[in-house]
Structure formats: structure tokens, C-alpha cells
Amino acid sequence: MQSALAKLNSRLADFEAPKALSLFEWFGELGNFCARLAKAAISPPYEGRELVRQLDEVGSKSLPLVALAGAATGVVLSLQTYASFSRFGAQSLLPAVIVHSLVEESGPIVTGLIVAGRVGAGIGAELGSMRVTEQIDAIEASAVNPYKYLVATRVQACILMLPLLTLAADACGILMGWLTNTLTEPTSLQLFLEAGTKTLTFNDFLPPTLKTAVFGLIVGLIACFQGMRTRGGTEGVGRAATSSVVLSSLGIVLADVLLVRLILVFFP
């Protein structure tokens, strides 16, 4: 019995060791990647043109999707809260609940997750495909730093664009929330906004919007990292795209927990 247990234990150890090792390796490589990225991002020359191209890629091209997701969130919030609040005769609180919920949490997290899906997959697949077709080697062989040209520009674009996309999601959500609400209880947009923003303070609005810059950093960093370390042909490209989305979405959700706590502490 004891020898059987020892055998099982040794098998488990064999199984766990490579997994634990590869996890440590992954974090080690990520640390090294961050150091190279930081050095490339702060030292001149700067890749202004590529940054503008990436701002367009991350920002303008994600806008319709983010706006649609924001609008859908607004509709759902309006329908759900109306159903619940009408039971208690608290319909007058509806605008404030919709606005607060969208601005403080739903807008930022929905935008972060939508961008993680669209942009994260795009960056992971693009860089992964460039890696396996030796385009990244060709950039390096041309005496151009790929961390500066490819990585820094994409990460910067994600950091800069996420807060702006969040504003768009918030605006669309509020607008659609009002529209849904007004179908059952006709109210003017001005009145809805006044009621919704009456209790909204600077601390309710700015920190949650700016926290999405951290979401942008997570999406850009993880997607570029997974793309740059792609191995193994088209299968590897698929893996890079999938892992970029999964890991950056997970990173956003976990970071949100921490950031919400920090915001509540520093901006009560």
C-alpha cells in the first residue's frame, strides 16, 4: 500500500514539475519582455507613424463594436432595473442607477473585455504570424528594434484608446438606457441626464474611466507577449490568438477586483 502511494506521489510530482516550471518560465519571460519593452518605449527615436496606425487600428476600428456593446448593456440595465425597481415603486431612481452602474463598472469592464477579444486576438495572431513567417527576424536584421516598432506602439495605442472607448461605451449605454426607459415611461433626455448625474461626482467618473488604461496595458502587453513568443507554424498562431484573449480577459477581471478596491480606498 505504501509503495503504491509512493508510486502515485512520484507520478504526481513528475506531472506537476514541468507545469510549475513552465509557469515560472512564463513569468520570467514576461518580466524580461516588460524590461525590453520599457527600454524600447522610452528611448528615441519614436515610431510616431506606426503609433498613429495602431491608434486607428485599436481605436476607430473597435469603436462600432464597443458602442454596440455599451448600448446593449444600457438596454439590459434599463430593462432589468425597471422590472426590479417598479416592484418597490422606486422608478425615479432608475436614471441614477443606470448612469452610476455604466460609468463606474459596466462601461469600463465591457469595453475592456470587448477590446481584449477584438484587439487581443488581432495582435496575438498578427505578431504570431509575423514571428512564424520570419517577418520579425527580418525587422531585427534590418537593424530596427521590433520591441520599439511592433510592441511599444501597440501597447501605447491600447493604453491611450481604452479610456476613450470607455467614454463611447458609457455614452451609448446611457443613451440606449434612456431610450428603453422612455418607451415605458416617457421622459426627456435632459431630465433623464439631470436625474442620472445629480449624484455623480468627479471621483465616481474619472478613476473608473482611467482604470481602463490599465486594462489597455494588460491587453497590449499580454497579446504582444503571446504573439512574439509564438512557435510552431499556423497552429502556434492559433494558440497565440486564443491565449491572448483568454489571458488578457482573465487579467482584466482580476485587475478590476484590485482596482475597484484601490479606487474605493483612495477616492471614497
Binding site: M130, E134, Q135, D137, A138, A141, S142, A143, V144
Partner: protein, 247 residues
């Protein structure tokens, strides 16, 4: 050219990937005006050798000197200074698929020269004309054939007027006519520039046409090096088999 130092000197080069030893003490020397073809079976580390020379990979042991400078201890800026003197044609051309043919060729010019936009346009046109791709300037890489991509890759490799050229299987996957055209192009460039070139290839016939010397890599080492006749007169069983199968 560049003083009296040889263009490329490789000594005792070793490289492993995990447990697999790819290069096991390779020695090579290439002078300016000379073309060396590196032959060998697939997976013998020929492409790895080129990537080590251009600093894309780090060797486990041994040294690589470009124009008399050992590249091992160089900073990234110093290494990039050397890379600007090296033109590299990749196996699949490795054109940037988000840029047009013209933008691909202009890529190194934009970053490493102070040329005006008009001067750059002229230079791109001239380079593409040299490889017969002038009228395809506005196309995307996906819109041109593999042979055309190699031509564009060659134009891009020549953009900064390098005096060292590295070709990674320049004719692999091409039909015999296109392969012949690429070989002619390489020969012409070599005659015009008197550069030091290393051509990694499986194509024995092409290697014979374009090179001054050949080196046969086997089991991580250079088994034999010399003119084609030297290889032909070798008594080594592997060399004879390689020449027999390749011709």
C-alpha cells in the same frame, strides 16, 4: 574594402536547442568579392548559421567576427550598426505583409538614411528595377508570386548598399526557370558589388553556378570546404552520396 579584415570569420561555433546540438564547432571564413555556398541536408543548422551571423540568435560557444569585430560583446546599437552593412534574404522572403512592395523596400531606407521622400522614391524605383519588379510597386505581398516575393526581398536586402549578403535558400520552392532567374540576379548583384556572400541552399546545381567555394555541413560541422571540383574528388562516402543525389 573595409581595411584588410575578412568579411566574415566564424570559429568553433556551437549551438544547441534543448538537447539537440545543431552546430558543433563550425569554422568558416568569407572574404570580400567571394561567394560561399553552404550545403547540407535539411535540419543541419544552415539557416541557424546565418541567423547567428546576423545576431538573431546567440551562440553557445565560439566566435563570429564581422569585418574584424567580434559580435558577441556588442550592445544592441553596435550590433545594429553592423546589421546595416548586411543584406539578408530570408527563405520565404519575409516581406512585411501590411506594407506594399514599395514600402517594404523603403522600410530600411526610411529608418537608416536621411533621404527625402523624393530621393527615397527614386531609390526604391531603382532597386525594384534592378530585380525586374518596378511595375509591382503598389501591390501587397499577398498579390505577387513566391518568385516575385524573393525578388522584392532581394531588393529590400540591397537597399542600404550592404557589403555582406546572406541568402537563405533563395531558390527553394521555385520552378526551375524562376530559380535560374534568381540565381542570375544574385550573380549580377555579386559582380556589381563585390560583396561577401553566403548562400545557404540545397540546390547543388545553383550553388555550383553562383559560388566560388562550397561548404558541406554534416552532423553540426563543416565536413568539406572548397571548390566544386574538391568536393567531386572527395573520397568521403557522405560527400559522394550528396553530390550523386543532388545532381
Amino acid at each position: 574594402m573595409e581595411g584588410h579584415a575578412p568579411a566574415i570569420v566564424v570559429e568553433g561555433l556551437r549551438k544547441s536547442f534543448g538537447p539537440q546540438r545543431v552546430l558543433n564547432g563550425v569554422n568558416l571564413r568569407v572574404e570580400y568579392g567571394e561567394t560561399l555556398s553552404v550545403l547540407g541536408r535539411s535540419g543541419t543548422g544552415k539557416s541557424v548559421l546565418l541567423k547567428l551571423i546576423v545576431g538573431l540568435l546567440k551562440p553557445d560557444a565560439g566566435s563570429i567576427a564581422i569585418q574584424g569585430r567580434d559580435i558577441a560583446g556588442l550592445s544592441l546599437d553596435q550590433l545594429n550598426g553592423i546589421r546595416k552593412k548586411i543584406g539578408f534574404l530570408f527563405q520565404q522572403a519575409a516581406l512585411y505583409d501590411s506594407l506594399t512592395v514599395g514600402e517594404n523596400v523603403a522600410f530600411p531606407l526610411k529608418r537608416h538614411t536621411s533621404m527625402s521622400a523624393a530621393e527615397r522614391r527614386d531609390r526604391v524605383r531603382e532597386l525594384l528595377k534592378q530585380v525586374g519588379m518596378e511595375e509591382h510597386q503598389g501591390k501587397m505581398p499577398s498579390q505577387i508570386s513566391g518568385g516575385m516575393q524573393k525578388r522584392v526581398g532581394l531588393a529590400r536586402a540591397l537597399a542600404l548598399d550592404p557589403n555582406i549578403l546572406l541568402f537563405d535558400e533563395p531558390t527553394t520552392g521555385l520552378d526551375p526557370i524562376t530559380a535560374g532567374e534568381i540565381e542570375e540576379l544574385i550573380l549580377r548583384m555579386q559582380e556589381q558589388r563585390r560583396a561577401a556572400s553566403i548562400v545557404v541552399t540545397h540546390d547543388l546545381h545553383g550553388a555550383k553556378t553562383i559560388s566560388d567555394r562550397l561548404a558541406l555541413v554534416h552532423e553540426g560541422n563543416v565536413l568539406i570546404e572548397g571548390a566544386f571540383e574538391d568536393l567531386e574528388s572527395s573520397q568521403d562516402e557522405f560527400v559522394s552520396r550528396f553530390l550523386r543525389q543532388g545532381s
